[in-house]
């Protein structure tokens, strides 16, 4: 790859904000950060923000098993269009990513992707909640994140054992916090709206009970526990209290839980069906406050592609989930009353740190170049038909958003240029 310089932008990273150019060497490392740099290819970033690429801790790439909805390649294309340079593939594929051979398969697919694809693996075999996966063997292959996402580990004893077993491996146990007995049959948030619509609901307490249990087990075992897609005010309050008490629990929140409420389900459009469900405006407020004060460490998309025909089903029959990679930054920047540095912190260097993705979340000479160039003033309207993802189930269709990713450099390669993927 020829030398690349991104000129004239404002660099924003964890050290603050300053003017500067970034020179990417032929081998894909950052060669220099400074002023007046030149290169074979020059990208004019005047008026734009140059920031470390985003890291998504929660991406459903659907491969293997549901390639009609997304593949590792198409998902990575969607990721770089949203400014992501690293995504963490979720293990609820078919077959489940729960053994060495499937981990290797997905890692191999990731090598041809447009960005860094990290692979997570299940906590229990086939996510059935009965038997632990070979976590030590998978950790040796580079798996740092274990989750049964799509469902929580219901059995208290098994979850305790998973936490204890994980301790010497230095890995994170990420929980889809949902008590299945309490949420059973629910297709949206249980409350005034579900009661009016005549749809079975999932109470907030289904999430909160599991968060409460995992806090207790984390205290018991000392394991590193991460709560995925936190969506209720009660769960946030418990996580805040646990951290104040010294329990090293971390948490993420999705763009949709920061922006949308259960009222969105009023027209029975299954594009708004997601687990955990869209909650009340009080919960949205709590998510925003939690993200602002750091109780919720980062934004994670829970990018969940589904084909149009499955989202056309009646609300209760349609699968849950929405895509999010391409709109995450813009939704956060438009909807949240947070400084740019904080929004970028929650999208980039904090999730990079949680995952231990050392080549991400920094702009520094000698490190791999993972960069995103954003026009923070651009305004655009979300059109599902223009989605880069293989699926188009975005809940933000028709919304006018502020700020847009225009270029992305992943592992030293300009993979997204002027709004187009380069390969």
């Amino acid at each position: 790859m020829p030398e690349l310089v991104i000129r004239g932008g404002t660099l924003v990273d964890q050290h603050g904000s300053r003017a500067g150019d970034v020179l990417v060497a032929e081998d894909g490392t950052v060669q220099a950060v400074g002023e007046g740099l030149r290169g074979a290819i020059e990208i004019d970033a005047t008026g734009c923000v140059v920031t470390p690429g985003f890291v998504d801790l929660h991406t459903h790439l659907r491969e293997p098993g549901k390639e009609e909805a997304e593949t590792v390649e198409s998902g990575s294309r969607s990721a770089v269009a949203g400014g992501y340079t690293c995504v963490l593939a979720m293990p609820n594929t078919t077959p489940t990513i729960d053994c060495a051979s499937v981990v290797r398969d997905v890692q191999e697919l990731g090598r041809r992707a447009l960005c860094d694809v990290e692979v997570s693996a299940a906590i229990t075999v086939d996510r059935a909640g009965e038997q632990l996966t070979p976590m030590a063997e998978l950790a040796e292959l580079g798996v740092r994140w274990f989750t049964d996402d799509g469902t929580g580990v219901q059995d208290d004893h098994l979850m305790r054992l998973a936490m204890e077993y994980s301790l010497p491996l230095g890995v994170v146990l990420a929980q889809h916090a949902e008590n299945s007995a309490l949420s059973a049959g629910g297709v949206m948030h249980e409350g005034a709206v579900s009661s009016r619509l005549g749809l079975p609901g999932q109470p907030a307490e289904a999430e909160e009970l599991m968060v409460m249990r995992d806090i207790a087990l984390a205290r018991l075992t000392g394991a590193r526990v991460h709560v995925m897609h936190v969506s209720t005010a009660g769960a946030i309050a418990m996580i805040r209290a646990a951290r104040a008490g010294g329990i090293p629990i971390t948490a993420e929140v999705t763009p949709h839980h920061l922006a949308l409420t259960d009222e969105c389900c009023s027209d029975y459009d299954a594009v708004f069906k997601v687990h955990p469900p869209l909650r009340t405006s009080g919960d949205v407020d709590a998510c925003r406050i939690g993200l602002g004060d750091g109780t919720l460490d980062c934004i994670a998309t829970d990018h969940a592609p589904h084909t149009p025909e499955t989202k056309d089903l009646p609300f209760d029959e349609a699968p849950p989930g929405m895509i999010g990679l391409e709109t995450a930054f813009s939704v956060a920047w438009t909807e949240l009353d947070l400084p740019l540095e904080t929004v970028l912190d929650r999208l980039s260097w904090t999730p990079a740190r949680l995952l231990g993705a050392e080549d991400h979340g920094v702009i520094e000479a000698g490190r791999r170049a993972n960069l995103t160039v954003i026009d923070t003033e651009a305004s655009w309207t979300v059109d599902p038909m223009e989605a880069v993802s293989r699926s188009r189930n975005t809940p933000f269709a028709g919304r006018e958003l502020r700020g847009r990713v225009i270029h992305t450099v992943a592992d030293g390669e300009l993979v997204f240029h002027d709004g187009e993927a380069t390969r």
Partner: protein, 352 residues
Amino acid sequence: MSRTQAARRADEQANDVDGVSEQTADAPPTTARPRHLLSIGELGADGLRTLLKLTDTFVEVGQREIPRVPALRGKTVVSMFFEDSTRTRMSFDTAAKRLSADVMSFAAGSSSLKKGESLRDTVETILAMGVDAMVVRHRSSGAPWQVARWCDDADLDRPVSVLNGGDGWHQHPTQALLDCYSLLERRGRQVGETPDLSGVKVAIVGDIRHSRVARSDIEAFTLLGGEVTLVAPPTLLPPSLVGWPVRVSHDLDATLAEVDVVYLLRLQRERMEAGLLPSLREYTAHYGLTAARARRLGDGVTVMHPGPMNRGLEIADDATRHVGSIVTDQVRNGVATRMAVLFWLLGGQIDA
């Protein structure tokens, strides 16, 4: 043919019918004609009153020797029942036939749905055949809204009306219309009078949580001025009643002493299997209209049930013969009500 022309032609046809035009002209619409009938709430108080007055006309038609008018001749009504229902389907089909519409039937059990065809494909296939109205019954709450969206989005020569024949736990608007009509009739409303239930106290008893009848009836009774009390064990109430214009009681005997109407809902036996009730016996003892309760009920109290009844469960056999029972009136008025709905939505309304 444009929408207006179609409407005018239907009006002319209606004017051909002895009695129909005059009576409906006495009851001019107070609200714009909607394209679909999906819920009572969307219909609103004016729409509700308009339809109830229009029902008078078709009650009269039903009393004729040949209870048939040519009002919807040339129109095609398709009933699409994705959930078993005998009475609602028969009632709609009879209504459409008495209006001289062509009637097509789609039953999920015998259809391509079993071969994996989606709801959307089924709807689009039927739209392509050319229809004027779809009556949709579906076990999923909200399905008629999706069908209405697809109809509105489709590139069609003429608009298609969607009638909600009952969706999941959500709405059953024609049931609420026939319930209001039957109750008003029992309370002495005369033909042509403005429908009004001001001050009428109604107890709706039973499985409110899973009941589309309850959701539609609460809205309809309230829009007409009635006061609704829900009587049910907490496990059979919706998780939230925020915004519902109702009182709640768990004491059926105390409530029965105060109300003018007791509306019993059908109890599905699977509610007990799901653990929402300890036993059917306990349900009947606390929430059933037993023979003893029926004996204590004043003659002036009206007893209603949407059918089919579980005799001995939510209503005792003796109680079905209470002098205030209008259960068969409900069924009879169902046809006239649905004629009114089809007539109004499909351009039979008098615009002048």
